[in-house]
Amino acid sequence: MDMRMTVPFVEALQDIFKQMAMIEVQTDGDPFNDNEEVHSYGVSSIITFAGKIKGRFLIDLDTQVALQAAKNITGSSYDSPKEQMVLAVVSEMNNIISGNAITKLNNEYGLSLRLAPPIVFAGTDVVISIPKVASASVTCTTACGKLKASVAISKA
């Protein structure tokens, strides 16, 4: 997979986390080819897109990062990542991040991508797999925990 595809997603992720949730996100290094299986840190959100190519963008957050983001955005504290408001916040953040990234990709490469609505979930021992599609991930660190951004692209 072309590692350039991850750049707009990671940039938008850093921007939106800073602007909306006041969380600084530092990348740990360059994107790497990830396994087909991703073990969730706690709360994950997937957004899929289709156009001249197809793919998905995954953000995977430590529970603490999700709770902190929900607290900073809504002003209330939450105990569990399974609360609807926490899931809704992560889902909306992913929607905005992906919207920004997709606009950049469309402008730059003319891919005519369209987004499906975000999916968000939290559970116990969650593993996410996207069969037969190569993915590139970037791990990141914030003051309240880890997060991972992963982009997978397949030819349409």
Partner: protein
């Protein structure tokens, strides 16, 4: 979301799995909810883009998943859900959703220029998972079959 948008997915599911030799397919009562709680092991979810936008998720237990994959592979025994089995489950989700779109949904939306596309399926494993697949509402329909229960969750933005 009106009921007429739900039945194409159920009919497609019936169509596809009966081709694999699954019988006794009965649809349960649809339930509407905001968050979707899944206590089965495996969920395959894929998105729709175009003039119909949304997500569709199919959930089942690992027993049902093994039997489904086995049925898809002409009865080959399936001991565990490995990457081939996952790929088969994803393919089934693709087939059902593709079938629903091409057969009935495009008729429902006739008059409009139909520009649908299906996004790649993601397979999610785990226990006790809370999902939100649509910001509006999710309609969940249990489907009982000879190989166990498959839950169809439809979240369309209409």
């Amino acid at each position: 979301m009106e009921d007429k948008y739900i039945s194409p997915f159920l009919e497609a599911l019936k169509n596809v799995i009966s081709q694999f030799g699954v019988t006794d397919i009965r649809f349960g009562k649809p339930e509407r909810k905001e968050t979707m709680h899944v206590d089965t092991d495996i969920t395959a979810v894929l998105g729709l883009v175009g003039n119909l936008r949304g997500n569709v998720a199919y959930s089942m237990s690992s027993e049902t998943a093994k039997k489904t994959v086995s049925a898809m592979m002409y009865g080959m025994p399936v001991e565990e859900i490995d990457s081939i089995a996952r790929s088969a489950i994803g393919e089934m989700a693709n087939m059902i959703t593709g079938n629903a779109i091409s057969s009935s949904l495009s008729l429902l939306l006739s008059g409009e220029k139909t520009t649908f596309d299906i996004t790649p399926p993601s397979i999610i494993f785990g226990k006790d998972i809370y999902f939100i697949i649509s910001s509006i509402e999710t309609v969940s329909v249990p489907v009982d079959t000879s190989i166990g229960r498959i839950e169809v969750n439809i979240g369309l933005e209409i």
